[in-house]
Subunit: 417 residues, 2 copies
């Protein structure tokens, strides 16, 4: 097994002064021994596009690192891409620093309502939950929906309760009615109810919060944005070259109950699509940022489509500039706020100097954002630990009007079986 | 004012034996006098793609006719395209024969939960409700969301409760919590609760229904499909050339509570987009059929994009064949069931023989379906009454695998002001 390390960062010139295009360049591995028999795979995660203060940078990076490790552990154990991506999301949801799962913003009633979705590039199945209360890890339910989606239909042609294709379906109300029963029946942890209790007790404080939030926004808009934009997500490619993507969000602070954002909506929060007859690359995308902007531009799917052209970096940059910031659907917005992580892979012949024809998986990964910053982490199954990074707009660039884009390449060789 | 009548139907040859391409051809008006000072506009409605039995054909046509008239009345009174399309939808929702509003299927708890959405081609705003209970006309709420969407943000950066860009946002849970309060506060009719009571009393019959439905499906699949597929919708172009589209659905019979289908989801149930820098045509689309199939293919938006090429008929046919029936996202489905109505318009110079340069609006309208049948109606502001039609797959064609496509052209000349 040979895997290339990602070891240097090079700043590229850019046509637009408002674009910072930093390319992480691959270097040849130096002394790394080819490892046989170990599974390969790659994960890229994010802890939100928004504003990550220097004071909390360490925590954001740490949770990204742990999320990468969880996904890689799964891949090394032979798990599917969807299970690996779920493992990463659970770790991200469990952090009190992210706006997902445990750390979610409270709505106007002082309650937590989460959105999450997951897509499997192989089956193209999709599972989603919207405005979900009382479940510790929304992504687990979305993944469950996705799995159930493979199992066919119930009697009388009814859609099974957990069938994803149920339609890319939001089961929000189902959960309001019966999340407790379901949690018990299906083995989900009820501990969430207790753990969330502290937050629910804050309900009475909501009116006060609203006033405080308003004041804070006036005095320090950045800090507040940080609270509203840090959805989490991950993209994975496994041993077989299958891709998966997932996203999870607690939604806007003080949102109205029932408000569902991009993380629950097909094509908007995540996208994964294995290579096919008309798609030379397998692609996986996860988005973060202002729900309205991500939904109106159906950004995850838009990025996936664009990544079928040869130059992934250029394709993503143009998408962020023309289909996101420049979208006619957002013409009346002051600024367009969002970020994406993308991964694409294709099988290619091994390098000439390697005499044996091993199947090689070329993985290109990128992140791009129009927000002040975006925290990412990435790791391949052969790395000892994850790399993490807080990407920031360059000084002078205007959030909502400028694009930052960075990324790297990784070549994975399947182990000899 | 001159307006061309649509008066003959011509069967076109088709490359595929599985495609029936019927073109409604425009004929010159014979003696119709140019009417001055009257407003122009056009509406196309559908009462679902599914199976419309001969025995109920009259009712389906009748409701389509009334819906067209309601929209045209609005247009003649100078209403916006969105208000005209809403008026058509209200009429369709109020019919007991359609699966929307009043006539909606019951879910597993014996309750009615509706999805509806509306899109304004001018502002590109979108309003949607999902799994909405206790409101007589879901489309009215979606339209309200759309209108509120224009009004900017609340204090503290919160999204206003009814802001559409709230995002293409499903307000399902909001309605479960507070539909009664909202209905009172916002002036929506509460009569729906009484009128729905009869249906709600059927709740206890659900288990029996399930068994009966199963038996019926075994004995007569078509009749059952009829019950599950008849979402309603409409597309409109107004005096100014603005387009709007809307869709409303009661969802699958015996669905799980909270199940949200294409009618609530951005890009899937309806789409409207005025002409712009990169879009020579204004387009409006409304879909019907199997929610899963329509969502996975994001069919409304897909049709809208395709309609920017020159030949609308060919573009729609290819979309239905390649992006719907042939979609890789539906590769594992036995058949792909759906239907669309589309309208596109562009301003063009008046015909050479007319010496005066009046602004002329060329409106092309089409419907296409892979289901057994689709019931449509259409009317221009200058018509005395609407035309209605039940389009059927030709004998021998297989539902889910064949495409029927029909349509026509209408030229609208703005009155002299």
């Amino acid at each position: 097994m040979m895997e290339k390390g990602i070891s240097s960062v090079e700043v590229l010139p850019s046509k637009s002064s408002q674009v910072t295009a930093v390319k992480v360049v691959v270097k040849e591995p130096e002394t790394k021994q080819t490892q046989r028999g170990k599974r390969v795979g790659f994960v890229l995660v994010h802890a939100g596009a928004g504003y990550h203060s220097e004071s909390k940078a360490k925590e954001y990076k740490h949770v990204c690192k742990r999320a990468c490790q969880k996904a890689i552990e799964k891949l090394q154990a032979g798990a599917l891409a969807t299970d690996a991506v779920t493992a990463a999301l659970i770790e991200l949801e469990d952090s009190p620093f992210t706006n997902a799962g445990m750390g979610s913003n409270l709505n106007l009633l002082g309650e937590i309502e989460c959105d999450a979705s997951i897509m499997d590039g192989k089956s193209l199945n999709f599972g989603a939950v919207g405005a979900l209360s009382g479940i510790k890890n929304p992504v687990s339910v979305a993944n469950r929906l996705l799995c159930e989606g493979q199992k066919g239909k119930l009697s009388a042609g009814r859609i099974p309760p957990w069938k994803t294709c149920l339609s890319s379906a939001l089961c929000c109300v189902l959960f309001l009615f019966s999340s407790l029963e379901y949690a018990v029946g299906e083995g989900f942890s009820l501990a969430a109810f207790k753990r969330n209790k502290r937050k629910l007790e804050l309900a009475e404080k909501v009116e006060t919060d609203l006033i405080q939030l308003k004041k804070r926004r006036q005095s320090n808009e950045k800090e507040n944005d940080s609270g509203t934009l840090d959805t989490v997500g991950a993209v994975v490619v496994d041993q077989e070259g299958n891709v998966a993507a997932a996203v999870s969000s607690g939604g806007l602070a003080l949102k109205h109950p029932g408000r569902v954002g991009q993380a629950a909506l097909y094509g908007c929060g995540c996208w994964a699509e294995n290579t096919g007859a008309h798609t030379p690359y397998s692609t996986a995308v996860s988005t973060s940022g202002c729900g309205e902007h991500l939904v109106r531009t159906i950004l995850a799917r838009e990025c996936s489509c664009a990544l079928q052209t040869e130059d992934a970096h250029q394709a993503l940059l143009e998408t962020m500039q023309n289909k996101f910031i420049g979208s006619p659907f957002l013409a009346n917005e002051d600024g367009v706020l969002g970020g994406v992580i993308v991964l694409r892979s294709c099988r290619c012949s091994a390098e000439p100097e390697l005499s044996q024809e091993k199947p090689t998986l070329l993985v290109e990964f990128l992140w791009s954002h129009t927000t002040e910053s975006m925290c990412v982490g990435y790791m391949s199954a052969q790395d000892g630990k994850a790399k993490t990074h807080i990407s920031r707009l360059p000084p002078g660039a205007v959030a909502g009007q400028s694009v930052a884009i960075e990324g790297g390449v990784c070549r994975l060789e399947s182990p000899e079986s």
